[in-house]
């Protein structure tokens, strides 16, 4: 049922508070509500932090409890947590959300145009396949894969390379 546990070395994401948005490693448990936490590679000093503001990630580091910051840092860098984190979908979603909030009026226009073009292409292909299917009876499997291929093509061809694929990638996942 539960897959991520609070343990020594568990990397957690801080969701609110002064260090919101940063990653920390749990170094020790103080009591039922607080943990001793340290984020040497993310700019969080070693401190007590309530569990409530932490959200557990999939990453676990190996260091003994109450290890000092140097050890935590070594373990962190050995596992390359920062890179692994930015490769996760979680981090990408956060980044996309930030980018969306920072979009200017012009960016919104460009995204709208890109989405419109993409949807038009998709619809075009769909209609083609539907017509083919209705003409020649049932065609299994292959037509759907062709549509997905086209989706990825158009996603990479974005006008605003960062922002357009971000909302489009989200749409593709849906």
């Amino acid at each position: 049922v539960f897959k991520r546990f609070v343990e020594i070395g568990r990397v957690a994401f801080i969701s609110f508070g002064p260090h919101a948005g940063k990653l920390v490693a749990i170094v020790d448990v103080i009591d039922q509500n607080r943990a001793l936490v340290d984020g040497p590679c993310s700019g969080v000093r070693r401190q007590a932090m309530p569990f409530k503001c932490m959200q557990l990630t999939d990453f676990v580091l190996k260091f003994p409890h109450s290890a000092r910051q140097k050890c935590v840092r070594l373990a962190w860098e050995k596992e390359n947590i920062n890179e692994k984190w930015s490769a996760t979908r979680w981090a990408k979603k956060i980044e996309a959300r930030e980018k969306k909030a920072k979009m200017t009026d012009f960016d919104r226009y460009k995204v709208m145009k890109a989405k419109k073009m993409r949807n038009r292409i998709i619809k075009h292909e769909m209609k083609k396949l539907q017509r083919m299917a209705s003409k020649k009876g049932k065609k299994p499997g292959k037509p759907e894969k062709a549509v997905k291929g086209k989706k990825q093509e158009k996603a990479t061809k974005a006008k605003k390379p960062e922002k357009a694929p971000a909302p489009k990638a989200q749409k593709a996942q849906k």
Partner: protein, 293 residues
């Protein structure tokens, strides 16, 4: 100072030997000398600081007579230039005028005063108004411009017949209104004035370096013309008021001159033309306070 016109302004140190000043700063002297280099006729006097040190507010160290001596007023006797007196002798304003009068046996003309005595004196004099300060007329108001609005900024008009349209900002006019253009071929907004308060400034800017806006585009150029000559009272005046706006050739020429420069720059930015053609609108879930413009 009679005969004050200093011939050689280019002398840096001793500019006016007539005036003896105590403790003049040299750089301060040089400034007026540089200014005066251009115009000889203008007064280039340097005024002395107050020769009457204050003991307390409103109280000077020296009395009137002492100050008379300190300022050497016994030496300073100004007379008006003579030419003016001569002129005044000639140019007395006309007090009366002779006007022709019709009818026979009337003498043909009358001598009429130009400036007549008042025909009515009110029984109660209007009390003298108290002095007020800081109430300036509109022409003297300070014009401000938001920092986010610079030449070339794309603005979103919020009111008027062009509401929702995205438009390029050119400059701020003397009354504080913003001179703005579509350009016309892009979104049918001509050279027009817009009010700063009813405009959203986006962060998108068109590079308008080197774009020359004609000097004659001022507020009076854009002001609505109202003709007021009701020769016949009531009746058919309502038509003569210029309700229908007529497009003049000059407007077309100015529009072309400005737009040609701007369009070239708009074409350089990809998708900007389409952006200017589109209109701004809100829909569900879109909150202006959350949007970054």
């Amino acid at each position: 100072m009679a005969g004050e016109k200093a011939p050689a302004e280019k002398k840096p140190a001793e500019k006016k030997p007539a005036k003896k000043k105590a403790g003049e700063k040299k750089p301060a002297e040089q400034k007026p000398s540089q200014k005066a280099a251009g115009d000889k006729k203008k007064r280039v006097k340097k005024y002395h600081a107050s020769r009457n040190p204050t003991l307390a507010r409103g109280i000077g160290r020296y009395s009137r007579s002492a100050m008379y001596a300190r300022k050497a007023l016994y030496k300073r006797k100004y007379t008006a230039p003579e030419t003016k007196i001569e002129k005044k002798k000639k140019e007395m304003p006309r007090a009366t005028i002779t006007k022709p009068v019709g009818g026979d046996k009337n003498g043909g003309s009358r001598v009429v005063k130009i400036r007549k005595m008042p025909r009515y004196y009110p029984t109660e004099d209007v009390p003298r108004k108290l002095l007020s300060h800081g109430k300036k007329p509109f022409c003297e108001h300070k014009r401000r411009l938001r920092a986010s609005i610079t030449p070339g900024t794309v603005l979103i008009l919020l009111t008027g017949r062009h509401r929702g349209k995205r438009v390029v900002f050119l400059k701020q006019l003397d009354t504080g209104l913003l001179l703005v253009t579509g350009p016309l071929t892009v979104n049918r907004v001509p050279l027009r004035r817009a009010h700063q308060k009813f405009v959203i400034a986006t962060s998108t800017k068109v590079d308008l370096t080197g774009v020359k806006i004609p000097k004659h585009l001022t507020d009076s150029y854009f002001k609505k013309k109202r003709l007021r000559k009701p020769k016949h009272q009531e009746g058919e005046i309502f038509d003569t008021e210029k309700e229908k706006y007529e497009l003049t050739e000059q407007r077309k020429a100015d529009q072309k001159a400005v737009d040609s420069q701007i369009l070239a720059r708009i074409k350089k930015v990809p998708q900007l033309r389409g952006y200017l053609r589109s209109t701004f609108s809100l829909s569900n879930g879109v909150y202006p306070h959350k949007l970054v413009f």
